[in-house]
């Protein structure tokens, strides 16, 4: 479904991504793990068009994304839950969700999808008229996820969904990620919580200072000596 080849991204003189290639198959959960500054978020931003790649190709179902203007990518079925949630703090929960459906025309579909999001995240339903800025961190994460789901994506990119959340919430979020995947949405997950990410991933890649150094199934990498040392605490 998503195929990244020889992707290079520079910020001025600094090369953040030094030519990486990876693939996400239809229906999978794929995770990129790596330390701070490895280039995980940069990779996500390049895929969803928030920054321009200098070289390489990003193919979504056979279409070259590097040539598509950023705002058109979501309409092609690729949504991103950005790191740090980035909800629209001054708009209500429901307005945030409806902005997710910005490109969709069918009102009936939108209403159905809204109901579905409220079922997945009942707390958003309870707070639908509250400004998003008044939500807790966990609720904002749910809102960011719900908002991305409102675009009705084929593939969902999630950047550090567990960041800053309590262990209980982290479990809940990971459970929901699996549920979303089981309902048929392909997922590309970036996480510092490597243990959790590898546990649910079909396929995984290790990113180190702009390069992919290891790949395998989630299980394989979870057992790998080097991964255990560097990312799983021994």
């Amino acid at each position: 479904m998503l195929k990244v080849e020889n992707l290079k991204v520079r910020y001025g003189m600094i090369e953040a991504i030094k030519g990486i290639s990876f693939e996400v198959q239809d229906g999978e959960i794929v995770t990129l793990i790596g330390a701070n500054g490895a280039g995980k978020t940069t990779t996500m931003h390049a895929i969803s068009g928030l920054i321009k790649a200098q070289e390489g190709s990003i193919m979504l179902d056979g279409v070259e994304l590097t040539k598509v203007p950023g705002h058109k990518i979501v309409g092609m079925g690729l949504a991103q839950v950005p790191e740090g949630r980035h909800v629209f703090a001054q708009q209500t929960v429901e307005e945030n969700l409806l902005l997710g459906a910005y490109l969709r025309k069918d009102r009936g579909d939108i209403t159905r999808e809204l109901e579905e999001v409220y079922q997945t995240f009942p707390r958003l339903g309870e707070r639908s008229t509250q400004p998003a800025g008044t939500l807790s961190g966990g609720e904002q994460q749910m809102l960011a996820m719900g908002r991305a789901l409102m675009t009705s994506p084929k593939i969902l990119l999630m950047d550090e969904p567990s960041m800053g959340l309590s262990p209980l919430l982290v479990s809940e979020i990971f459970q929901i990620i699996e549920e979303i995947n089981q309902k048929g949405t392909t997922i590309l997950l970036v996480e510092q919580n490597a243990k959790r990410a590898l546990a649910i991933a079909h396929h995984a890649y290790v990113l180190e200072t702009g390069r992919i150094t290891l790949e395998g199934t989630g299980e394989e990498l979870a057992r790998d000596e080097r991964v255990r040392k560097a990312y799983l605490g021994g």
Binding site: H71, L99, G100
Partner: protein, 291 residues
Amino acid sequence: MRFLSYLMSGLGLGSVYAIIALGYTMVYGIAKMLNFAHGDIIMIGAYVSFFALTRFGLPVLAAVPAAMAVCTVLGVLIERMAYKPLRQATSLSVLITAIGVSYFLQNAAQILWSSSTKVFPAVISNGALQLGELSISYLTLVTILTCVVVMVCLTLFINHTKTGSAMRACAEDKGAAMLMGINVNRIISLTFAIGSALAAIAAILLCASYPQVFPTLGSMPGIKAFTAAVFGGIGSIPGAFVGGLLLGIIEILSRAYISTQLSDAIVFGVLVVVLLIKPTGILGRKLSEKV
């Protein structure tokens, strides 16, 4: 009674400031830039309506949309040609460019229409509404009414339409807005279009009370309205409204009771005091960056 009638003319002048201030505040809110050429859009609007009324003999109700159309196109073109290439540049570069655009428009007007002052025809009848002892000129009434209608329409549009919600989204977080599929460039264009159309309305109201058209006519109202926008809290639409009205009232009252010469100094002095006490303006939001 005299105080009340000063208050009414203050509200009238303030209404014009408020309409201009909306342009500053919306562009600042969404494009995060101070469009110092906004005052000169007013000047262009004044010339367009002047020619529409005199040379083409159009009625006022046709001159208004004509001026609005020209200003809208001009505002969008300026954004596209002068500001859009600087989207990634520092705010100082954009500010200097805006000042450059302002001088460009003033000098273009001087070349095209000479620097001599043209007399704007009377567009609103001279009469006044008598309420007991208080008399309010029709012009003041029309001006205040226009401002209220503009405010109500704009507020409804921003708060209750999908495009309005997209505009608010862009004001808060352009990256996240793009991830929703919002074409941020188009929203910025739209903002300039609305601001410039409002500048054209302001131009006609302004020329109806001060019937002189000249190339630098937009400078002073532009700066005053900018002050009003900052006064009310730049980026806030109700702030522009409140700031504009207050500024108009302060200006007229200081002219009436203190000194005509000092009125501008007093107006700007009030701004300094407000900013010392509340740096974000009366209705401005606290600037907080969440990490």
